[in-house]
Each structure stands twice: as structure tokens, then as C-alpha cells.
């Protein structure tokens, strides 16, 4: 963290190399984030580029309070969702989660590629909310603000996403697909 503060301070003093170091540290992680909210890799790369440009322009606004990574993630999420919304209107439905009788179980051993596929197969509106909540660790209040929906819709969409994922896991463990 001390190193990060050092980089930020150098950047504020006009050191371009500091910006490059910041990019090298976070580029991969932010690209993964952008890919979660983009339709394809090309769009994700565009968002990555836009995100870093906005980040460097707004870096002087970062007060040092709170997590830098969290602050940065919000910039990239905001850019990605903004574009997503422009290109395609997102429909979030107010739904009640289906009742699940699942008992607490140990975490199963499922290959990463399979789990990634499960998430990718989620309906778009559930997938986005799931990503925002689980990966970006945003609160329902923040998700509601980002996606322009109510907190209730965010909660119900997340619950629905989890239900679908649970079913997929169950199905995979039973039938191996």
C-alpha cells in the first residue's frame, strides 16, 4: 500500500512513469472487470481504455480515504454500465426468489471453466447484478444507483441468480454436465 501511495504521489507530481506502473499493476484485473460487463472482448478493451483515461484525469480527486482499488473499480464499472445501457436497454424485473430447500453443503469441487460457463449462461440481468454484488462487492444500494433500479429489484435479481446457479451445480454434480 505504501508503494501504491508512492506511485500516486509521483503521478500527482507529473511523473508519467508512475501512471505506467499503475497501469501495469491493474490492467489485467480491470480488463477482467470490463469483460464482465461487456458484450465482447473488443468492447471490454474499449472500456478499459476509457476507464484508464478517466482514472488518470480524475486521480487528483482521490483523497486517499478508503480503498483505492474500490474507488478505481467504481470508475470502470460506471463506464462499462454506461456503455452497456446505451447500447442495449437493460430490463431488470422485480421477482421474488423461488423458495429453496437446500441444506448447507460443503463447497463442491467443480472446474473453474465450468463455473465460469455457469455464470456466463445466466440471463443478462441476473448476471450483471451477480457480478456487481459478488465480484465488485457493491451493496444493493450502490447497485441500485449504478443500474438505475430499486434495491428490492437488485436483491430479488441476485437471489434468482443464486438459485439458477445452485440448480446448475446440482445438475452438474448429479449428471456431470
Amino acid at each position: 500500500m505504501c508503494d501504491l501511495n508512492d506511485i500516486l504521489e509521483k503521478y500527482r507530481q507529473g511523473d508519467r512513469e508512475a501512471a505506467g506502473r499503475l497501469y501495469r499493476i491493474y490492467a489485467s484485473e480491470m480488463l477482467a472487470l470490463c469483460m464482465r460487463y461487456s458484450r465482447d472482448r473488443t468492447e471490454a478493451e474499449d472500456n478499459l481504455q476509457d476507464g484508464f483515461v478517466r482514472l488518470f484525469e480524475a486521480l487528483h480527486q482521490y483523497s486517499g480515504k478508503g480503498s483505492f482499488e474500490g474507488w478505481m473499480k467504481r470508475i470502470f464499472v460506471h463506464i462499462s454500465l454506461e456503455k452497456y445501457r446505451k447500447n442495449k436497454s437493460l430490463l431488470f424485473r422485480e421477482e421474488l426468489p423461488e423458495y429453496s430447500e437446500d441444506e448447507p453443503e460443503p463447497v463442491p469441487e467443480i472446474p473453474v471453466s465450468v463455473l465460469s460457463r455457469f455464470v456466463e449462461e445466466l440471463p443478462e440481468r441476473y448476471r450483471l447484478i451477480f457480478h456487481l454484488y459478488v465480484m465488485e462487492e457493491l451493496s444493493h444500494k450502490e447497485i441500485a444507483s449504478f443500474a438505475g433500479i430499486s434495491e428490492g429489484t437488485s436483491k430479488s435479481n441476485l437471489a434468482r441468480a443464486r438459485d439458477i446457479l445452485k440448480k446448475k451445480i446440482k445438475q452438474y454434480l448429479e449428471y456431470g454436465r
Partner: protein, 431 residues
């Protein structure tokens, strides 16, 4: 399975995904940052220039206003006008008046008393701003002068008795002769219909509102924010027909440049959309397909079509338009320095259609954009500022905005409504 187990399971899985950004991404970010810095500087430059012009023009306007007052209130003269006591509006006329003196461009009011004032046959003038005397009630001047006299000595002459008041009236009659002459001249001017011709040079900034609602043949969504404006040059002749003192109609013929520029990296129009059609090369651009005539692999920008092009290439699409404006002009300030508001519509004929590539400042003509609408209609609004340099010649500055009501592209999947911010400078001659 608990919710937090599910969340943890997927988070751990998805966190193992470490995609590698393209190798040239950092270079592209640096280029974008540099460009935005450059644009900011340009914007600051333009804003400063426009602010300087406005400051200069409003200074002229202020001087013009002062001069106008000077004609009525000669220096070292005093004016007496009836006042309405704001605390008691029904209290007019009363015995209290304000004597005003123009000295060193300041109106110095002083309460004086005139017995039995006579309001008949007094000269009307524009009301002067409210005056406030320390420790006294606030007075609002009425729109007529009670008396108007030159002072013999500096300072306000107190009207303390009826004899003094009569003396001032005598002086006033002498001065009124000059004033009525001025009024006659003004009346003649009002009745006359005036024709004037002006030549304009119109630099500006052309941009536009862009949307591409569907993922069309260019295979990419292109966002409005990816579209940048271009500096446009133009000019032309304007004919103004003044009907009365304040209203005028304008028409003429103007040449304006419209268009956009965007980066290769932003829309990948060059290489993903490239195809061959006979001897023409086709380039997919934000505003439609560009026909690239006489393509030769040895041209300077042959690298334009390569995915590995290291430098950002800008694509400029520039349209020359011949415009016939029809505008109404309202003169808001008709002092020596004229300030007016303009509004109207223009018919615009696209007479030139060129596309250029620009790589590191090397601009090269590459062809023309297809499906461009030949005739368009735009709406105009602006501010007119005029200052006479002689009896018949005026300097004119007209900051304005023009917005095209139609998309310049006939392609249903492309909406680009150009707009132009311009500062037209010109010289007008009255006939």
C-alpha cells in the same frame, strides 16, 4: 448450499481469470491522454479569445451608452427630474426633486425642493436608474425631465427659489432647439428602409450529434463521444434589409464546413470493415462507407489498413456546404454600438464531400463518403454586434450556433446532425 458459499465459490473461480490486455493498450491510453490535454488547451484558447472579444465589445457598448447620456446631459450640466417616493408611490408630484449632474461619468443626485412645479411640455427621456441618497428614501426617476439646464459653475445648482427655477427654464428652451433637431434626424432614420451588404469570414468549430441505433454494416457500434469535431472555415456575403429601427431581415450566401473526425482505434473502421469492390477500396466509417478511389498499395497511408498500425490514425470526413440563410434580426441596443439577436433557418447544399486520413499530422485525401444528403435544413441562432467605423461602414462580429435538423446521411442506420459554433467577423456597408 448457503448464499455466501455460492458467492465465495464463484468469486474464487472468476478471480482466476487474468486476461492480458493488448500490447499496444498503454500506448493508446497515452495517446488519448495527450489528445485530451491538447483539446483542453484548444478549448481554453478559444474560450479566452471569445471572452476577450466579448469584453472588448461590451466595453464599446458601455462607452456608447455613456456617450448617449452625454448627449443629453452635457458635462457640467445638471438635470432635474421628478421622482417617485418608493415608500409612498402616490406622492407624485411632490415638492422634492432630484437634481442630477454628470461629472466624471457619475450621476450625483441631490434632493432639492421646487415650489409649484409645472409638468406641461416637458421633454421625455429614458428613465435613469434609481438613485439612492444616504439616509434618505429611495427615489425612482420618472420618465420626463422637469428641467434641463447647463450649469455655470461646477456642481449641482440648488433650486432654492422660484426665480432660480425660471432661470433654468430659460436655459432649457435654448437647449431644446438642439434637441428637437436631433429628434427630427432620428425620425427620418426611423422611417427609412435601409439596405446593407456585408462580407464575412467565419471560423468555427463543427461537430454534431451522432447515433447509430443498430449494429450496422460497419460491424461496430460507434458512440457519440467517439466523434470529435473539426475546425471549420467559411464565409460569404449577407444582405440585410432593415425595416424600422429595430427589426431587420437577412439573407445571403455562405460557405461552411461540416464534419467529424474519429480515431481508428475507437471504431476500427479501417481494417475490420475493409473490403474490395472492383478497383475501389471501401472503408467503413462512422458516417457511412468511404469509396477510396485509385487505391494503390504504395500510398503513404497504406499502413492504415493494417491491424498492427502503431500510430493512431484519425479519419476526417469534411463536407462543404453552400448555405442560404433566412434570418430575422432584432436590434436590442440601438446606440452607436448595436447589439442584436438573430434567429432563422438555412437551406444547405452539400457541394463538397471529402474524407482524409491523418496520421501524425500527415493529412491525405482518401475518397468520398457515400449516401450523403445533398440538401439539408438547419436552424440558426446568434448574437450580432456592430460598431460603426464611419458613417456607412460598420465592423460586425456575430457569434452563432447552427444545428442541422436532418441527418446528413441518408443511411437509416446512421444519424448525424451536424452543428457549428462560429464567430463570424465582417464588414458591412450601408446603401
Amino acid at each position: 448450499m448457503e448464499d455466501n458459499h455460492i458467492d465465495r465459490l464463484f468469486k474464487q473461480a472468476l478471480q482466476q481469470n487474468h486476461p492480458v490486455p493488448p500490447s499496444d493498450m498503454w500506448y493508446r491510453i497515452l495517446q488519448r491522454l495527450d489528445q485530451r490535454k491538447k483539446r483542453k488547451k484548444q478549448l481554453i484558447g478559444w474560450s479566452s479569445g471569445i471572452a476577450a472579444i466579448f469584453t472588448l465589445l461590451f466595453s464599446f457598448m458601455f462607452i456608447g451608452t455613456v456617450r448617449k447620456n452625454t448627449l443629453i446631459l452635457q458635462k457640467d450640466s445638471s438635470m432635474v427630474f421628478a421622482c417617485r417616493n418608493q415608500n409612498n408611490p402616490n406622492e407624485i408630484p411632490e415638492r422634492n426633486f432630484v437634481a442630477a449632474k454628470l461629472s466624471e461619468r457619475k450621476i450625483i443626485p441631490e434632493i432639492i425642493s421646487v415650489p409649484n412645479p409645472d409638468f406641461s411640455g416637458k421633454t421625455r427621456v429614458h428613465p435613469i436608474a434609481s438613485t439612492s441618497l444616504p439616509g434618505k428614501a429611495k427615489y425612482t426617476p420618472l420618465s420626463y425631465v422637469i428641467d434641463y439646464v447647463p450649469t455655470i459653475r461646477k456642481g449641482v445648482i440648488p433650486l432654492t427659489n422660484k426665480q432660480a427655477y425660471e432661470t433654468y427654464k430659460l436655459y432649457f428652451e435654448l437647449l431644446a432647439v438642439n434637441e428637437s433637431h436631433q429628434k427630427e434626424k432620428s425620425d427620418i432614420r426611423k422611417k427609412k428602409i435601409k439596405l446593407s451588404l456585408s462580407g464575412h469570414f467565419t471560423p468555427g468549430y463543427a461537430s454534431g450529434y451522432y447515433t447509430a441505433p443498430t449494429n450496422n454494416t460497419r460491424s461496430r457500434y460507434i458512440q457519440n463521444e467517439k466523434i470529435e469535431g473539426i475546425f471549420s472555415m467559411g464565409g460569404g456575403l449577407k444582405v440585410t434589409l432593415s425595416a424600422g429601427e429595430r427589426w431587420a431581415f437577412q439573407t445571403g450566401c455562405f460557405y461552411t464546413q461540416l464534419g467529424q473526425q474519429s480515431e481508428q482505434k475507437d471504431n476500427r473502421m479501417f481494417y475490420t470493415g475493409l473490403s474490395t469492390s472492383g478497383t475501389d477500396r471501401l472503408v467503413f466509417s462512422p458516417l457511412g462507407t468511404i469509396h477510396r478511389k485509385h487505391f494503390s498499395g504504395t500510398t503513404a497511408n497504406a499502413g492504415l489498413f493494417s491491424v498492427s498500425t502503431p500510430d493512431p490514425v484519425m479519419l476526417e470526413q469534411v463536407f462543404g456546404a453552400l448555405e442560404i440563410p433566412l434570418a430575422v434580426k432584432y436590434k436590442w441596443n440601438i446606440n452607436k454600438f448595436i447589439v442584436s439577436f438573430l434567429g432563422g433557418v438555412s437551406g444547405s447544399f452539400i457541394v463538397s464531400n471529402k474524407a482524409y486520413s491523418n496520421e501524425n499530422g500527415q493529412r491525405e485525401y482518401i475518397g468520398y463518403t457515400e449516401s450523403i444528403r445533398t440538401f439539408n435544413v438547419s436552424t440558426d441562432a446568434g448574437l450580432g454586434l456592430e460598431y460603426p467605423v464611419s458613417r456607412k461602414v460598420r465592423i460586425m462580429v456575430e457569434p452563432g450556433f447552427r444545428y442541422y435538423l436532418q441527418s446528413v446521411s441518408r443511411d437509416a442506420a446512421i444519424h448525424f446532425n451536424p452543428c457549428v459554433f462560429s464567430v463570424s467577423t465582417g464588414i458591412g456597408v450601408d446603401f
